[in-house]
């Protein structure tokens, strides 16, 4: 267990590195109070949004008299509204997330599993969002939602999120698609939905789940965390492979013999996942556990800043 306490999830080096980073959001969001993010509604900011024909009830002070002079019709000036962000972090804690690289285990290094990587990622994002005044909700799931923390933007809430993340255990099987559908049905206001998982289960319905979320005008970010072994299949000796989620029976395998086919299969799966995200206009990022999280996250933010 790499994290002895909740504070281990946010090392000082990471805090120092991301102290000035803001989480960019590309779509308007519906917040509960004013904030730094664009709202789909007009509001009281100084930034002009649009003209609208006057209708009875509108305040006369909002009439654009200059436009009346030009067009002989009454138009009202509207200004865009800034609101805070409502972010939902969906963290997969199924048993498959408990896998750590074989090489790390063989060399007695601290085994950094996919789940460890994912909860650090979730902690960093939550910290950045809370720091910039946005509200964050953490949803922990496997084949169903196991934990759902409320949507708050306080520091105390951040500490609760960190505490929860440090206590999460990898268990049971995963059903990401069902959970995404369920979350899409529960939240009405448009916000940011961040899904962190290894996405190794079936993708047949995954695209539908993404579209369900998009239908509610949420901005979606898909973070896939994988172990490097899963991409390279580096095993040489015959072994009995046992499914972490215990859905498939144990198999006696000569890894060298199936490596080619395995890599073909998983690459096809990853392409399919990326294609589904692109079609649903969801942002997709893949992190492997052998890369330092800070570097990987910094790269991701840089790319996201560029649009």
């Amino acid at each position: 267990m790499p994290f002895q306490s909740s504070l281990d999830l946010l090392p000082n080096t990471s805090i120092a590195r991301f102290a000035r980073v803001r989480f960019p959001v590309h779509r308007p969001v519906t917040g509960t109070r004013s904030g730094d993010h664009r709202s789909p509604h007009t509001g009281s900011s100084t930034e002009f949004a649009q003209h609208r024909e006057y209708s009875p009830g509108d305040e006369p002070k909002s009439i654009d008299w200059r436009a009346f002079g030009k067009t002989d019709r009454y138009y009202v000036k509207q200004y865009s509204d800034d609101t805070n962000l409502r972010a939902f972090i969906l963290l997969d804690c199924s048993a498959s997330m408990g896998y750590s690289d074989q090489e790390s285990r063989d060399h007695h290094r601290s085994a950094f599993s996919k789940l460890d990587y994912a909860r650090r990622l979730a902690a960093m994002i939550a910290w950045i969002l809370v720091r910039q005044g946005d509200a964050v909700s953490l949803i922990v799931f496997d084949d169903q939602i196991r934990l759902n923390l409320p949507m708050l933007s306080t520091t105390a809430h951040l500490h609760q999120i960190l505490r929860t993340l440090s206590e999460v255990q990898a268990q049971r099987s995963s059903n990401c698609t069902a959970v995404m559908h369920e979350v899409a049905g529960q939240i009405s206001n448009r916000g940011l939905v961040i899904v962190i998982s290894d996405f190794l289960d079936e993708l047949t319905q995954f695209s539908g789940a993404l579209h369900h979320l998009r239908h509610h005008n949420h901005e979606i970010i898909v973070f896939q965390t994988l172990a490097s072994d899963e991409l390279s299949f580096p095993f040489r000796h015959t072994a009995r492979f046992r499914d972490l989620e215990e859905l498939i029976e144990e198999q006696h395998i000569d890894p060298a013999a199936i490596r080619q086919e395995y890599l073909r299969q998983i690459n096809s799966h990853l392409s399919e996942l990326q294609m589904a995200c692109n079609l649903a206009e969801a942002d997709f990022a893949r992190f492997t556990t052998d890369l330092p999280l800070d570097d990987a996250l910094a790269d991701y933010f840089a790319l996201r800043m560029m649009g």
């Binding site: 048993a95 498959s96 997330m97 408990g98 896998y99 074989q102 996919k114 290894d198 190794l200 289960d201 079936e202 172990a227 899963e230 991409l231 390279s232 299949f233 095993f235 000796h237 015959t238 072994a239 009995r240 492979f241 046992r242 499914d243 972490l244 989620e245 859905l247 498939i248 144990e250 198999q251 006696h252 395998i253 000569d254 060298a256 013999a257 199936i258 490596r259 080619q260 086919e261 395995y262 890599l263 073909r264 299969q265 998983i266 799966h269």
Partner: protein, 804 residues
């Protein structure tokens, strides 16, 4: 295909090593927890067949590699006629297996796989055609060293002389020539196939001069021939030879019977050694041979002075009828009868009966000789030994002298053994009995004058007398205890000699039935297994079942040692029990011939049984004096003239050393001269025992009368003890086999028949017998090692090339 080093084939068990490793590898692999199991399963479904076959092919190649290597170590060799084709077949078969394995497991492209499969099929076809179609000519290589065993038929028929030379002599002459022409480094041995194969310890030697000298001294054994055992023995000898080429050269004649024996014995063996060559020396087509083929007494002779009917069988085994054959009968080398037979047809037998009187006890030699022209002289005489047993001396101890004579058991025992009335036609009885009161027994200085002591209802004995009787038994005497109502149980249970208890068991309670509850006890005749009882029951006429008694002693086992019960009562109690004490026997009968208690005295079987039991106890039984030919003949000759004192005296002189205690092995050794049927003498070792002489006559193959001359201590004259080695007189049948018939038998038996001396000379000096294949098997093993390495390398490359 045969192997020079068959023991190496045991290494084939090493094949289990790769199989076990394969199975162990499957069983002890590590367990890998894995998240992306779905993709592993999908990959596995596509690859499983190829994987299984790959592993199987690797396993087969490894097993094959080991097998071929072990086969090479076993040094396989084949006939030159199939040698080249076998080599090619092995090569093509190995190649075919490799190609087929590669086609199935390694090549994924259909065109390549098809090509490899076609090549594998072609190789398999070539292997098949090599074994079936290709028959190269016999390569002839001269002067190759070889191991040769020369088998010469030493039977009577080989002693027939034609042109001044017998078949045996011709065979020896030709064999000597062959031995002298054998290539350098060759080894040879000789065997004579008589009734047994001699010598017993023949072995191959490289010193051919010794073999030639041994051939010079070879003599025909006589009797019948035993070619199949001789050939088998030769094969055994050849197994120890170091040369690649091995041959058995058989010299025999064309007598039908031996070849029929060869057909019966050898044609069953399909995997016989193929280097056997036979040279047939022809017998004359017209010959006369009358033989005496059998002589025997009508029934066992008991007691001298009685007439014995002798039956003599004469057989004409020649090819022409015999006229006026004179048959003479000799007893103890004295002619007692002569008869002229008018005529005997070819192949027919005639029996003659002659009653003769055998005077005096002991061994009598009876011989029948037919005189007349005959090809073979050895079968004109036949001998047999008839043994007339001596009178058994019995001492009957009467334990109840105070009773009326008619009430004493001893009276009836004596009447049964020695009635005192001579049988009609017999000069004496079988046994002489002396009756003595138990109280007067101590007055007898020595029991050496008796063979058997019978205690009839003797209550108890003084200690010195009981010790004297125990020592008598231990020295080979017989003791019979008839347990009546007067005997003292405690005395008998405590009667112990220096070497053990006298009683066969522990005397228990005495069972008595009286009055209304009278339940008589009878003998269970079905339980009779004692030798004299078996003799009686086998004769059929006995009235043992009519016996009953109102009282009997129970005998229980001592120290958990099982009783040797020869007859039981119908209530399960032992009736007759036997035990051994030293060299002597003890019989315990749980009843006595007491007319007040039982009806034993009225049974007609009682006197017969008493005679049989006393004869049994005195060890007077017909000695075995007719022996079959043997490698180590140990004859026991009846010999009663040495007293125990002589043995003791000899022992004290140091022959042999040891405590002065009579044991079954007691005796002393001396040399004796053995006269053989041909008149030659040889010295043999004999061991003198009290009642017999043990003679180790060594290898005795020649049938006929043997005579052992032994010098007896305290006797001035030499004692002549004869015995007979029997002959199988089928040899007298000189029916000739047609050469084509012999050729057919030889072919079926895996023997190559050679027609002339030149041919057998070619065989012994020219044609190589076998071609070794180990080099080709080594090549095949190396090919398989290369194939296995290539397969592993290809597999490693194939998988390492894949990058994520």
């Amino acid at each position: 295909m045969n192997f020079l080093n068959v023991t190496a084939l045991f290494s084939l068990s090493a094949i289990v090593v790769p199989i076990l490793l394969h199975l162990r590898k499957r069983r002890t692999v590590r367990v890998q927890s894995w998240a992306a199991m779905r993709f592993v399963r999908q990959s596995l479904a596509a690859q499983r067949r190829g994987l299984t076959i790959e592993h199987l092919v690797l396993l087969i190649v490894r097993c094959l590699m080991l097998s071929v290597f072990v086969m090479a170590m076993a040094r396989p060799h084949v006939d030159p006629s199939v040698g080249v084709s076998a080599i090619a077949a092995v090569f093509f078969l190995t190649l075919s297996i490799c190609l087929a394995g590669m086609a199935v497991a390694l090549v994924s492209k259909f065109r390549h796989r098809l090509l490899l499969t076609a090549l594998a099929a072609g190789c398999a076809l070539s292997a098949w055609s090599c074994t079936v179609l290709h028959r190269p000519e016999l390569p002839v290589v001269l002067n190759q060293p070889r191991d040769v065993v020369i088998v010469i038929d030493g039977s009577d028929s080989m002693t027939y002389r034609a042109d001044g030379q017998s078949g045996f002599e011709r065979a020896v002459t030709e064999a000597k020539l062959l031995v002298s022409q054998l290539p350098g480094q060759s080894t040879a041995a000789t065997l004579v196939a008589g009734p047994i194969v001699i010598p017993d310890d023949a072995s191959l030697t490289q010193n051919l001069r010794t073999v030639s000298d041994r051939l010079e001294t070879l003599m025909p054994t006589g009797g019948n021939s035993s070619l199949p055992p001789a050939i088998h023995r030769a094969e055994e000898i050849l197994k120890h030879g170091l040369n690649l080429r091995k041959q058995i050269l058989v010299f025999s004649d064309d007598q039908l019977l031996p070849w029929q024996e060869v057909e019966d014995e050898l044609s069953k063996d399909a995997q016989r050694f193929s280097g056997t060559y036979a040279r047939v020396l022809p017998l004359p087509r017209n010959c006369q041979n009358v033989a005496v083929t059998g002589i025997s007494a009508e029934q066992p002779i008991e007691g001298f002075g009685r007439q014995a009917n002798l039956q003599i069988e004469v057989f004409n085994g020649g090819t022409t009828p015999a006229e006026d054959v004179t048959l003479r009968l000799l007893v103890d080398e004295k002619e007692i009868h002569s008869v002229t037979l008018p005529g005997i047809e070819c192949g027919s037998r005639t029996s003659i009966e002659y009653p003769c009187d055998l005077q005096g006890q002991g061994i009598h030699t009876v011989s029948a000789i037919c005189d007349g022209d005959a090809c073979l002289s050895a079968d004109n005489r036949i001998d047999c030994i008839l043994y007339v047993p001596a009178t058994t001396r019995v001492l009957i101890v009467d334990g109840t002298p105070s009773l009326e004579v008619a009430d004493r058991a001893a009276t009836f025992a004596r009447l049964a053994i020695d009635p005192g009335v001579e049988d009609e036609g017999a000069s004496t009885t079988f046994a002489s009995a002396t009756l003595v009161d138990a109280a007067l027994l101590k007055t007898i200085d020595s029991l050496d004058a008796y063979d058997v002591v019978i205690l009839c209802d003797v209550p108890r004995l003084p200690e010195d007398v009981s010790n004297q009787i125990a020592a008598f038994v231990a020295n080979g005497g017989g003791l019979m205890i008839l347990a009546g109502r007067h005997i003292d149980r405690d005395f008998y249970n405590e009667w112990v000699s220096d070497i053990g208890p006298v009683m066969p068991g522990v005397l228990g309670e005495r069972s008595v039935s009286f009055g209304e509850e009278f339940v008589p006890v009878r003998f269970d005749v079905a339980s009779a297994n004692h030798p004299p009882l078996k003799t009686l029951t086998e004769r059929g006429s006995h009235d043992l079942a009519a016996f009953y008694t109102t009282a009997a002693w129970a005998l229980e086992k001592r120290n958990e040692v099982e009783l040797n019960v020869g007859l039981r009562f119908d209530n399960g109690w032992p009736g007759l029990t036997e035990s051994k004490l030293g060299e002597g026997r003890i019989l315990f009968l749980a009843v006595s011939p007491d007319p007040l208690e039982n009806n034993l005295t009225t049974c007609t079987s009682f006197p017969v049984l008493m005679n049989l039991w006393t004869r049994y106890l005195s060890s007077v039984r017909p000695p075995e004096l007719m022996h079959a030919p043997a490698y180590s003949l140990e004859a026991e000759l009846p010999y009663t003239c040495i007293e125990p004192s002589t043995i003791r005296e000899r022992r004290e002189n140091g022959q042999p050393t040891g405590p002065d205690k009579v044991t079954p092995d007691a005796g002393f050794e001396s040399d004796a001269e053995l006269t053989q049927p041909d008149g030659s003498l040889r010295t043999v070792k004999v061991v003198h025992h009290k009642k017999h002489l043990a003679c180790d006559a060594g290898t005795v193959a020649t049938p006929g009368l043997y005579s052992l001359a032994v010098r007896v201590p305290k006797h001035s004259d030499e004692l002549k003890l004869p015995f007979v080695v029997t002959a199988n007189r089928t040899e007298s049948d000189l029916a000739i086999a047609d050469i084509n018939r012999i050729r057919e038998i030889a072919r079926e038996s895996g023997i190559t028949l050679v027609d002339s001396f030149d041919d057998i000379q070619d065989v012994a000096t020219g044609i190589p017998e076998r071609v070794e294949l180990w080099k080709y098997f080594i090549l095949a093993a190396l090919s398989l090692i290369t194939a296995e390495s290539g397969l592993l390398g290809w597999r490693t490359r194939r998988y390492s090339e894949v990058t994520p």
